[in-house]
Symmetry: C2
Subunit: 141 residues, 2 copies
């Protein structure tokens, strides 16, 4: 196994991801960091996100419009994806926890590492906008 060196920029990627609840894209994380470090590279964001995923520090929760959305919160929780505006936010779904993982493992003889539960639909803000006749422009999920 490769030895890990400290890296200021790697830390910065994780810090940006963990300091937002927007479940951002790699591109968005890059845009934030580019302001602080003008020589930041998009490759560094992807490289470290991949590393964090392998380490279990970060999880890709959904793919919206062809772009992966990341989450730095590993505690068990679920997500809602709005097909209209593309926003992703946390929801708490009763029963979707580690206990469920081990129940599946027991029943199917597999080893369950984690699960991902996503709800798809229209968020409350978009529902209101639709009622007041605003133009819909859906997102692909």
């Amino acid at each position: 196994m490769k030895r890990l060196n400290f890296s200021k920029k790697r830390d910065a990627v994780l810090k940006v991801l963990c300091s937002t609840k927007t479940h951002p894209t790699a591109e968005w994380i890059y845009a934030q960091l580019k302001q602080e470090y003008p020589d930041f590279s998009l490759g560094t964001v992807y490289r470290n996100l991949a590393l964090f995923k392998k380490q279990g520090l970060v999880v890709a929760v959904a793919n919206v419009n062809g772009q992966e959305r990341y989450d730095g919160v590993t505690a068990s929780h679920s997500h809602f994806v709005c097909k209209r505006c593309g926003s992703v936010f946390d929801v708490e779904a009763p029963g979707a926890d580690f206990e469920l993982d081990s129940r599946i493992a027991r029943r199917y003889g597999c080893e369950v590492e984690r699960h991902n539960l996503c709800f798809y639909g229209t968020c409350s803000r978009c529902r209101q906008e639709e009622e007041s006749g605003e133009q819909t422009k859906n997102v692909s999920v």
Copy 2:
């Protein structure tokens, strides 16, 4: 809204997808159809899968190694994805049903169309192979 014409090949795409439990990729569906119709095009598979998704006849359940995995069964059920061999199979997770959708809708004021619950880990066959010392070659999820 566009009028829909009948199409033999469109039907064939849905039929192939619905006649397997492997949750195949677009490429796999194409390979099957290419045998029956030597002039089948991969674009036709993608075009119709996109249409089916919009109609709610088909759902993309997981992305394994960068390829979307499709399911023609719309009845509420969950999936397990093996990170070792990449197989996807149905599992039944208690509580993950339409009732859960409306519970989330009520609590968060959103409209929930569907949900997707995926478990990630190692399937029972791969666990055995790992024990008998076979080489692991993980898949990306």
